[in-house]
Amino acid sequence: MVTWTDVCAVTDIPQQGARTLPGPDGQIAVFRTASDTVFAILDRCPHKGGPLSQGIVHGQAVTCPLHNWVIDLETGEAVKPDQGCVRRYPAKVVEGRVLIVTVPALTEAA
């Protein structure tokens, strides 16, 4: 069964910003876009491990603070011309709370 974990209120995350929490594979970054969509991905840039949570968020993407790769939050993939992919975790907002799935086995399939 999928376990959704309540991690915070949407308003705990700044719009166009992110917060982090420990996860099974390392820190997880939870993003909130300008239009209040939330995404959760591993806080580790596919380039050289940069902390994506600290990047500038625009549209449904974040620019890594270390060398400016742009990661699409929806697919977890680096925007061309760069290549790479970061692990995603299902995330949703229910009644103002952010819920995510962090169980490792489920995240790949989801």
């Binding site: 974990t5 309540d6 991690v7 915070c8 705990d12 995350i13 700044p14 719009q15 166009q16 910003g17 917060r19 982090t20 929490l21 420990p22 820190q27 939870v30 300008a34 239009s35 050289k48 491990g49 940069g50 902390p51 600290q54 990047g55 500038i56 968020v57 625009h58 549209g59 620019t63 603070p65 270390l66 400016n68 742009v70 061309k80 011309p81 290549q83």
Partner: protein
């Protein structure tokens, strides 16, 4: 036209030759062919020549893209990248990719370029042994260079030297190993090669000439290179640049005639009339080329035929320039005259100048220029024309102006050129092409001409000449390059946006984006920080700073490190400190187990490796000892460097330390388009290095000299002298006025040095020195703005401002 009825053109190779052919075809008959392009590299089409400046950090990948993704879409080209073609079936007229996609063609164009030659040395497959051919090689080199260490470049030709220069620029130690006794032996004679060597040694490159590589050593990763004479060179990176070989395997396995390259005739057809080949993969009249100039002629010949015209390619004359900033080197034609040839030379070794012209009878057949290649195009034209030069033979080594009799103005000489004179060797553009494009396409600026004809978009060496031609056709005003858009989110330039913010009273980032039709919902990491800055300069005290539009360093008030920790630099006014501050720093280091402490180049102390969640506590403790943020992370006032000055120094003429502290107290906390550094020296010996600072002050007996626009970074620039003033108060006022002018006029991420060069010293003097009322107003606006920005961001954060930035979430479970 019905899409499905059109003839299908398939191009293998998304490189310079393939796409140039497609461009030429689209120019002649857009929509005539249904075009599919396969490219092995996962990128749009870029200018391979500019990999060298990309490596040296002088250009970015965006700068070197020729056709971006949109171009393919806009021209209905089906582009498949990252999936190489592995087979051609000539009977069924299809190609198949590694990924298993099969596509049919009516005409096939092979443009697979060439492969770097890898010497069959022991250790050639170790990690860290690479070639210099594509963007991923540059990425590998850049990543290796980030760790410092030593690189060995095998091969001292054009590519090897450009790689070596780029790596030195990136901070590596570099040794070039070359088999022959002189560099670039195919293009240079001994004298020019010796000058080049001296020049490059001066830039920190070491050489082993007449040296053969025996083996590359290392366990998994390379550690050293062994030469035949036994010498071991330490190596964290090995770049092999010993030559290229046409990439013709695919053609060979399809049964086409291949010798060294894919054999083509003057129509550029291969042995199968349905298949053309173009670029470095071909062999034409026995020659395989390794430079771009021939590609342009080949591409034109093929495009003509694809629209039903007859055309032929008959071979090219090659000319080479080395793309190492500051080295002026040109070589064309035959440089080692053989039987029956004469050489005229002009050598001035101590000034690093050399010219050699090779003549056969009364015709020029080759030229080598070193140190001053201004006449390169003229010589190249003479070689191409094969003109009789008897009448100017004794003068021609001195260059066009003298040989042609009397001094000619540059634009007059451009006007005198025939329409067939080739202007841009990189792109094969003649003067006639430029004039025709201006007339037929109604072009109105240098940038238009560059975009449409591609002239000056290669190595850039011909830009002055293109500008002269544009100026003579359209008037000088057309040459002023139009400003680029801020980023892909908008078509507006920095200046236009700034103007609109003030004129249309735009108060927030969303307002600006809406009023100016931004293409993206909320911008990107390039435009948002710029807009945030423009707004806070325009509306001090009113505009609410947007932390989410700031780079992490400015949001967290510390510098992010490569491992995600941060560094903290407290301000030390004018570089002066005391035991209380030092004790507080020492305590903080112990308490938060800060792993590294370093004295910076800016006369203060940097604490490295602070965990993000500890930052507010570290700041709070430093605040308690009276220390505030040093803004070492910001596009902001950084440091004011001082020397001891008249208080202690036997030469000091004024109290430079106090002056520096006063300046720092006036300017700290101010945001700028880029970082800003000040310095004050107590006498012209200038121990505080004031003449490479954004604003430098040098004391003299009778007062203070003010200097502006210095930069010690990537491109060192000494300051321009602004003026001399008598009193301390004047120093402060001029400084405030100068900084405000910079804040109000410069583009985001433009330091004072390029800004001063762009707007001109005269314009700054007029506003800051000559116009006393204007100066007072500028200084007044600076001081007003400082009322809102001289708030220590550390104190704010220690009090809990933006607390979420520093705290991890704890899931509720």
């Amino acid at each position: 036209m019905d899409m499905s009825l059109r003839q299908r053109l398939v191009v293998i190779g998304n490189g310079m030759a393939g796409m140039r052919t497609v461009e030429e075809l689209l120019k002649r008959a857009p929509g005539l062919w249904r075009i599919t392009v396969f490219g092995a590299e996962p990128r749009p089409n870029y200018n391979r020549i500019l990999l060298s400046p990309l490596l040296a950090g002088e250009k970015t990948f965006d700068d070197i893209i020729i056709n971006d993704w949109d171009w393919y879409r806009d021209n209905n080209i089906h582009l498949v990248t990252g999936d190489p073609v592995v087979a051609i079936d000539r009977d069924r007229r299809t190609v198949t990719t590694a990924g298993g996609v099969t596509t049919g063609y009516d005409v096939l164009l092979i443009a697979t370029g060439s492969n770097p030659i890898v010497l069959p040395l022991p250790g050639k497959d170790l990690d860290g042994v690479i070639a210099f051919r594509d963007v991923s090689d540059v990425e590998t080199m850049t990543a290796a260079a980030a760790k410092g260490g030593h690189a060995v470049v095998i091969g001292g030709g054009l590519l090897g030297l450009e790689a070596a220069y780029g790596l030195v620029q990136k901070g590596m130690g570099v040794t070039v190993v070359h088999l022959i006794d002189r560099l670039m032996e195919r293009q240079l004679d001994h004298a020019a090669a010796a000058l080049l060597r001296t020049d490059l040694e001066g830039r920190g490159i070491q050489f082993r000439l007449s040296a053969n590589t025996k083996a590359i050593h290392g366990a998994e990763r390379v550690t050293s290179v062994e030469l035949a004479d036994g010498e071991m060179l330490p190596a964290d990176l090995v770049v092999m640049t010993v030559g290229i070989r046409p990439n013709a395997e695919l053609a060979r396995s399809a049964g086409l005639t291949v010798e060294r390259g894919i054999v083509v005739d003057d129509t550029m057809q291969t042995s199968d009339p349905a298949i053309f080949a173009v670029g470095e993969c071909v062999q034409h009249r026995g020659v395989c080329y390794g430079l771009v100039a021939p590609l342009w002629d080949m591409a034109r010949a093929i495009a003509d035929q694809l629209v039903g015209k007859e055309a032929a390619y008959t071979g090219s004359l090659l000319a080479t320039r080395l793309k190492v900033t500051g080295v002026d080197l040109f070589s064309a034609g035959r440089i080692d005259g053989g039987e029956g040839s004469d050489a005229i030379t002009l050598a001035d070794p101590s000034r690093g100048r050399y010219r050699k012209l090779v003549l056969e009878g009364d015709r020029l057949v080759g030229a080598v220029l070193y140190g001053d290649a201004a006449d390169a195009d003229w010589y190249l034209d003479l070689i191409k024309d094969g003109r009789d030069i008897a009448s100017m033979r004794d003068m021609m080594v001195f260059g066009e102006a003298i040989a042609a009799g009397g001094v000619t103005s540059p634009s007059a000489s451009a006007a005198a050129l025939p329409d067939t004179a080739e202007i841009c060797g990189c792109n094969g553009v003649c003067k006639g092409d430029i004039l025709r494009a201006i007339a037929e396409q109604n072009l109105t600026s240098f940038d238009d001409v560059k975009g449409y004809t591609k002239a000056a978009s290669g190595c850039g060496g011909c830009a002055p000449k293109v500008q002269q031609i544009v100026a003579s056709a359209l008037g000088a005003s057309a040459v002023v390059p139009t400003e680029k858009p801020i980023c892909k989110c908008t078509h507006h330039s920095h200046d236009a946006v700034r103007k609109a913010i003030v004129e249309q009273d735009l108060q927030t980032i969303p307002d600006v984006m809406q009023a100016l039709d931004w293409r993206t919902p909320d911008g990107c990491a390039s435009c948002r920080p710029a807009l945030n800055f423009y707004l806070l300069v325009a509306w001090p005290g009113v505009y609410q700073d947007d932390p989410q539009s700031r780079f992490i360093n400015e949001r967290a008030h510390a510098n992010i490190q490569k491992d995600g920790t941060f560094s903290v630099v407290p301000r030390m006014w004018g570089g002066v400190t005391n035991s209380t501050e030092l004790r507080a720093i020492a305590d903080v280091v112990d308490r938060y187990e800060i792993p590294a402490v370093k004295v910076t180049g800016g006369q203060r102390i940097d604490l490295f490796g602070v965990k993000k969640e500890d930052l507010p506590k570290v700041w709070s403790d430093l605040n308690a000892a009276g220390m505030v943020s040093g803004h070492a992370y910001g596009k902001a006032l950084r440091t004011v460097k001082t020397c001891v000055g008249s208080e202690w120094c036997r030469f000091g003429t004024q109290d430079s330390t106090s002056m520096g502290i006063a300046l720092e107290q006036m300017t700290w906390g101010s945001w700028h388009p880029h970082k800003v550094k000040l310095a004050v020296s107590g006498c012209p010996r200038n121990c505080a290095e004031a003449t490479i600072k954004d604003f430098g002050v040098v004391a003299v007996d009778s007062g203070w000299e003010l200097h502006i626009g210095g930069n010690g970074g990537i491109h060192v620039r000494a300051t321009d002298f602004l003026c001399k003033v008598d009193t301390d108060a004047e120093v402060l006022e001029y400084c405030a006025a100068f900084l405000q002018l910079y804040r109000e006029q410069a583009r985001y991420l433009e330091r004072t040095a390029p800004w001063v060069e762009r707007v001109g010293l005269a314009s700054i003097k007029a506003q800051v020195v000559d116009d006393a009322t204007g100066r007072a107003a500028l200084a007044g606006r600076f001081r007003y703005s400082q009322r809102f920005f001289q708030i220590d961001p550390w104190a704010e954060a220690a009090k809990g401002h933006q607390a979420h930035e520093f705290r991890s979430l704890v899931p509720a479970e």
